[in-house]
Structures are given as structure tokens and as C-alpha cells.
Assembly symmetry: C2
Homo-oligomer: 202 residues x 2
């Protein structure tokens, strides 16, 4: 493949590409800056906007820093996705414990729409990329767990799953289509109510 391949055993490491964690403190800071810039760009313009050059410029770092700290653009995107998911999960959990389940549509309305779009964009993209797929599953599992904790039910309970799906669909629909909010709120309260009244799973 590579026509100028040196004997690989002579240089045990390529002396480049310091994997995930640079050895020096400044390097670790730089890497984090790049990642934050990638997340920003992802939320602003979708993942087409996350290019090496754009990330470097946003982070006030030279272009080559991006290829030095991240093996490829795909890896950069994957880490940005993971970070976004983690942040989203903690935000959502905090909101629900503060305001209750049925107030979730208001949190969605409050939150940065572009951010949500970037998140969902990457979620769908995960369908074509096994690495991202794992992160997507983590997101789903995290949301289900939040619902389960809130309702004091096990994660496997059908009612939990039912509420979660309703939540998800309403969320996505609102972010993409920007329908009036009251519909979503009404539907969600109705869903929670009927789920509470429903029999325990068979």
C-alpha cells in the first residue's frame, strides 16, 4: 500500500499520533480545545462543518494539530459525538429531576436547537458506522435509565420503554419540524398518565 514503507520494527512508534492522551500537559489541553471546537462546529453547521481546517481555526491552532491529536476525521467526529451525548444526558437528567418528566418539552424548547440538530444528525449517521453505533446505544440506554429512575421502575418495564419512545419521538419531531409546543406537552402528559394507570407488565 505505502510505497515508501520503512522497516516497521526499526521505529516501534511512528513518533507521531500520540493516541488518545498526549504525554505532556499542554498537549492534553490542546487536544481538549480541539475537541470543544469540533463540538461547537458540529452544533452550528452539522457534521459537514467539522473539517480539520475549521476545527483548527476555531481552536486557534495550526492545521496539523488536528491530524496530530486525532488519527482521522472519523475519530474526531466520534469523540465529539460521545462528548455531546454525555453532556446531553447530564443536562436532561438534571432538568427532569428539577421539573418533572412532563416538563421535558419545555426543556427541549429552551435548549439550543442547533445543538439538538447536531446530536440527532450524528445519531442517524451512526446507523452507517459501527463505532458511532455504540455511542448511539449508550445515548438510548442513558435516556431509558433516566426515565426508569424518575418513575422508580426497572429499566425493563414496558411502561418505561413506552414513555421513553414517546419522549424521543416528540423530541425529534419538535427539533426538526418546529411544530407548536402545546401539542407535544399535552400528548406527553397523557402518555404518562395512561402509563401510570396501566397494569404492570404481564
Amino acid at each position: 500500500m505505502n510505497p515508501h514503507q520503512d522497516t516497521p520494527k526499526d521505529r516501534p512508534r511512528p513518533a507521531h499520533t500520540p493516541a488518545a492522551s498526549p504525554a505532556q500537559a499542554r498537549g492534553r489541553r490542546r487536544r481538549a480545545t480541539l475537541l470543544a471546537a469540533a463540538v461547537d462546529l458540529l452544533t452550528e453547521g452539522g457534521f459537514a462543518a467539522v473539517t480539520h481546517r475549521a476545527v483548527a481555526q476555531r481552536a486557534n491552532l495550526p492545521l496539523s494539530a488536528t491530524t496530530y491529536y486525532f488519527a482521522s476525521r472519523d475519530q474526531l467526529l466520534a469523540e465529539a459525538f460521545a462528548q455531546l451525548v454525555e453532556a446531553e444526558l447530564t443536562t436532561t437528567r438534571a432538568w427532569i429531576t428539577d421539573h418533572g418528566l412532563t416538563a421535558l418539552p419545555d426543556q427541549v424548547a429552551t435548549a439550543d436547537r442547533a445543538r439538538q440538530l447536531g446530536l440527532w444528525e450524528l445519531y442517524v449517521h451512526a446507523g452507517r458506522d459501527p463505532v458511532l453505533q455504540h455511542i448511539a446505544r449508550r445515548w438510548t440506554d442513558g435516556c431509558v435509565r433516566i426515565v426508569a429512575d424518575t418513575l422508580h421502575l426497572p429499566e425493563t418495564d414496558t411502561r418505561v420503554r413506552l414513555i421513553y419512545t414517546t419522549l424521543t419521538a416528540l423530541w425529534l419531531e419538535h427539533v426538526v419540524e418546529q411544530r407548536p409546543l402545546h401539542q407535544a406537552r399535552d400528548l406527553l402528559t397523557h402518555a404518562v398518565k395512561t402509563a401510570e394507570n396501566a397494569l404492570p407488565p404481564p
Copy 2:
């Protein structure tokens, strides 16, 4: 904007870009071929794969045909999305009238996964593009209507909306995350049952 702009009134039409419907039969066929090629590519590789060159090559037509029949790449994507949505709606409706609501997960499992991914990819992308947003709303409305017709209920009925959201979320989750199918099927039947037992909306 354009430095070499002729007086626009002398040439009432640019002599290029025949809007949506070419005057000649062969042209209309060619346009349809290009559109079909775009849909194909969209399903295969996401909308990043829908480039002028790729579409032209897939349709066995010269590159310039794509710019002749479509004003821009955005328009091409919009029409491909609309076509995909229309096809999906008729397919789904047929499946449900044949096999019933709760068999929908099996239809999803049967159908071409890449196609579904392309559809959802464009759906999320519609959040950033007003033109696509209209098409996205059409899709949602179409799905809601199918559910309403199947249950012999008005579209505005809360139970219809509830089933629709459950359906949507399960569908997306399955397409992206490829979880085992039985969960989705069980959850859906449970949702339909509780919705049927629920009181009519207040």
C-alpha cells in the same frame, strides 16, 4: 453579484435550466433517470454521496445534464427526498392494511435498511433547511393519517398521536441501533392495546 450580467430583459429566459418539466419527452425521461439515480445514491451512501458527478455517472449521462435539469444540488436533493417520502408512505400504508399495525416492525426489518437510513438522514437535515422541512412535515402528517385510518379515528385523537410517536421512535431506533426485533414488536402491541383500552380523549 454576477460581474458579467447582461441586461436581463433582452433574454427573457436564460435559455438554460428548463425549470421542473422539460418540453421534450426524451428530456423528461432523462430527468426522471437522474432523479432515480439520486435516490439510489442517497440510500446507498447518505446524502454526502449525492454529488452531481455521481448522479450523472449512475444515470449514464454527462455531468452537465445534472445542472441542466436541476437548478442546484439542493433542488436535486429536495426532489429526491420528496420522492422517497412518497414511496415510503404508499409502501407503509399497503403493509399496514395487509398485515395490521403491530406488524410494522417486521416491515421495517424486511425493508432495505440503507433506504431507511437515507430517509432519516434527510429528515434530520430538514431541520436546517426550510424547503426540506415542508417535506418532512408531509411525511409526519402522512404517517399520522395512516394510523388514524387504520384505527378508524380522527387524526387529532390523542391515541392516534400516541401510537404514531411510539411507531416512529421504534422505527428509528431499530434502523439506527439494530437492536433485537422482538422488543420492538412486544412494545408496540402493548402500546396499541393500552391505547385501545384508554378512555376517549377528554
